[in-house]
C-alpha cells in the first residue's frame, strides 16, 4: 500500500464510483440498472481525470486578464479528454436505451437472464 491513498481523496472516490458502476454493469440483470451502471463507471473515470488535471491554487484555463504564464492555470488536457468522453458516454447510453426498448417490445421484461431463457425456448420450439 502506497502513501497517498487519503491524500488522493478525489481519486479514491472516483475509483470507488468506478467500481460501483463496473459491478452494476457486470452483475445487475436489469437493463436500466446496467445502463445506470455504465454511466456511473464513466463519470467515475471522468472524475478521476478531472482530478488529475487540478493543481492546487490555480484557476481554470481561460486566459482572461492577459496572464499567459503556465503556473497560473490548471492542466487543460484532462478537461479536453473528459469532454470527448462525455459525448461518447451519452451516445452509448442512447444506444443501450434504444436496445432496451426493442428488447422490451420483444420479451416484455427488463431482465437479461429471462430474455435469454425465453429466446432459447423460442429457438428450441421452432
Amino acid at each position: 500500500m502506497g502513501p497517498n491513498l487519503l491524500a488522493n481523496y478525489y481519486e479514491t472516490a472516483a475509483m470507488l464510483i468506478f467500481g460501483i458502476g463496473f459491478t452494476a454493469l457486470f452483475l445487475s440483470r436489469n437493463m436500466i440498472k446496467k445502463v445506470i451502471g455504465f454511466n456511473l463507471m464513466d463519470t467515475g473515470m471522468f472524475l478521476f481525470l478531472a482530478a488529475k488535471g487540478y493543481v492546487e491554487g490555480r484557476s481554470a484555463p481561460i486566459l482572461t486578464d492577459g496572464v499567459r504564464s503556465a503556473t497560473a492555470y490548471i492542466n487543460p488536457v484532462p478537461a479536453g479528454l473528459v469532454l470527448t468522453g462525455i459525448v461518447v458516454s451519452v451516445s452509448v447510453t442512447a444506444f443501450l436505451l434504444a436496445l432496451t426498448v426493442r428488447l422490451y417490445l420483444k420479451y416484455r421484461t427488463l431482465n437479461l437472464d429471462e430474455m435469454l431463457q425465453r429466446s432459447r425456448r423460442n429457438e428450441a420450439e421452432s
Partner: protein
C-alpha cells in the same frame, strides 16, 4: 441490523430480483417464470451428441442453470472486488493530488497555455486544445455521436409500410395524446424555451472565449427543442423542423466539419500554411477554425439529441409534407 438489511438487499439485487416501476409487469412476467427451465428443450437436444452438447445440456438443466448462475455471480463479484481493490492500491501509489510538480504538468500543457493564444487564437485553452491541437479525437467524437444516431435509428425508427403513414409496429406507437399537455408545462416552456434556445446559441458562439462550446451548446439546444416539443406537441414543432431538414442539417454540418478539418490536417502534415486568419483574440470572429467548427458541432449535437428524443418518444420524426 441495518447493515444486515443492506446486505440482504444487495444479495437480492445480485440474484436479479427486481421490482419494476409498474407492478403489472411483474404480473406479466410471473407466468413465464413458473416454468423457466426447459425440459422439452433438453429433449429436443438429446438427439445431438458430443462433449460440448453434454456440457450445454447440463447447463440448460435446472441444476445446471442454478449452479452456473451461482458460480458466475460469485466469480463476477470476486472479480469486481479484485479490480476495485487493485485500483485503490494503485491510487495509493499515484502522484499526490493537486501537486504542481506532477508528471502530467509537463511541456505539453505548458505549450497549450503559453502559446495557445498565438497558435490557435482561442482564449479558452480547452477549446483550442480539442479543436486544434488534438482535433482528430474530437472529429472521432462527433462521429461516435453520429454512429449512435445511426444505431438508434436502425432500432427505433418506424418507417411504416409503403407510402401510407401506417405504423409497422403497433407497440412502438405512442398512445394518442388525448389529454392536453399540462398547462404548467406549457406556460413555463413558453417562457423558458426561447431563452434556452438563445442560451444554447450563445454558448456555441462563445465557445472559444468562455467555458462551453459546440457540444454543451448543442446539448442545450437539443434540450430546449425537447422542452418545446413536450409542451406544444411534436407535430407542431415538426412542422418547422422536419425529418428531412434535420437530416440535411446533420449531413451539412458533419461534412463541413470533415472538410474543414481535412484541410487543416492536410496542410499541417505537408507543412503548408493553412491560410486561415486567427483574428483578434477576444472578439467573436477569432480563433481561426474554432468558431465554425463549434457551430458545426453544435448543430450536429442539437439535431442528434432531438432525433434521439423523437425516436424514443414516437418512432422518429415525420416528414413535414
Amino acid at each position: 441490523m441495518a447493515s444486515y438489511r443492506l446486505f440482504r438487499r444487495f444479495a437480492n439485487w445480485v440474484e436479479g430480483e427486481e421490482v419494476y416501476p409498474i407492478p403489472e409487469i411483474e404480473k406479466n412476467g410471473s407466468s413465464v417464470r413458473e416454468h423457466p427451465i426447459t425440459e422439452d428443450m433438453a429433449r429436443v437436444r438429446s438427439s445431438d451428441e458430443g462433449v460440448g452438447t453434454l456440457l450445454r445440456r447440463w447447463m440448460d438443466s435446472p441444476q445446471g442453470v442454478a449452479a452456473f448462475r451461482r458460480v458466475y455471480t460469485v466469480t463476477a463479484a470476486l472479480l469486481c472486488a479484485a479490480i476495485v481493490t487493485l485500483l485503490l492500491v494503485t491510487v495509493s501509489y499515484l502522484p499526490r493530488f493537486g501537486a504542481p510538480d506532477n508528471p502530467a504538468n509537463n511541456e505539453v500543457p505548458r505549450r497549450y497555455i503559453e502559446q495557445g493564444l498565438s497558435e490557435t487564437g482561442a482564449i479558452n485553452v480547452v477549446a483550442g486544445m480539442i479543436l486544434d491541437y488534438r482535433a482528430f479525437d474530437t472529429l472521432g467524437e462527433s462521429n461516435v455521436l453520429f454512429a449512435a444516431t445511426v444505431a438508434v435509428l436502425i432500432l427505433l425508427r418506424d418507417d411504416g409500410e409503403g407510402k401510407k403513414k401506417k405504423r409497422a409496429i403497433p407497440e412502438l406507437k405512442q398512445e394518442p395524446e388525448r389529454e392536453r399537455p399540462d398547462p404548467i408545462l406549457r406556460a413555463s416552456a413558453a417562457v423558458v424555451g426561447p431563452f434556452a434556445l438563445l442560451y444554447g446559441v450563445y454558448v456555441i458562439l462563445n465557445g472559444h472565449l468562455s467555458a462551453g462550446g459546440g457540444f454543451s451548446g448543442g446539448a442545450i439546444l437539443g434540450a430546449a427543442l425537447m422542452l418545446l416539443s413536450a409542451a406544444f406537441g411534436q407535430e407542431k414543432l415538426e412542422r418547422v423542423f422536419t425529418a428531412r431538414r434535420c437530416k440535411a442539417l446533420t449531413f451539412l454540418a458533419l461534412m463541413c466539419y470533415a472538410l474543414l478539418k481535412s484541410w487543416s490536417f492536410y496542410t499541417g502534415a505537408n507543412h503548408l500554411p493553412s491560410g486561415i486568419p486567427l483574428g483578434t483574440p477576444g472578439s467573436i470572429l477569432s480563433g481561426g477554425l474554432i468558431l465554425p467548427l463549434n457551430i458545426c458541432v453544435g448543430l450536429v449535437v442539437g439535431c442528434t439529441m432531438y432525433s434521439f428524443y423523437a425516436c424514443f418518444r414516437s418512432g422518429g420524426m415525420r416528414d413535414g409534407t
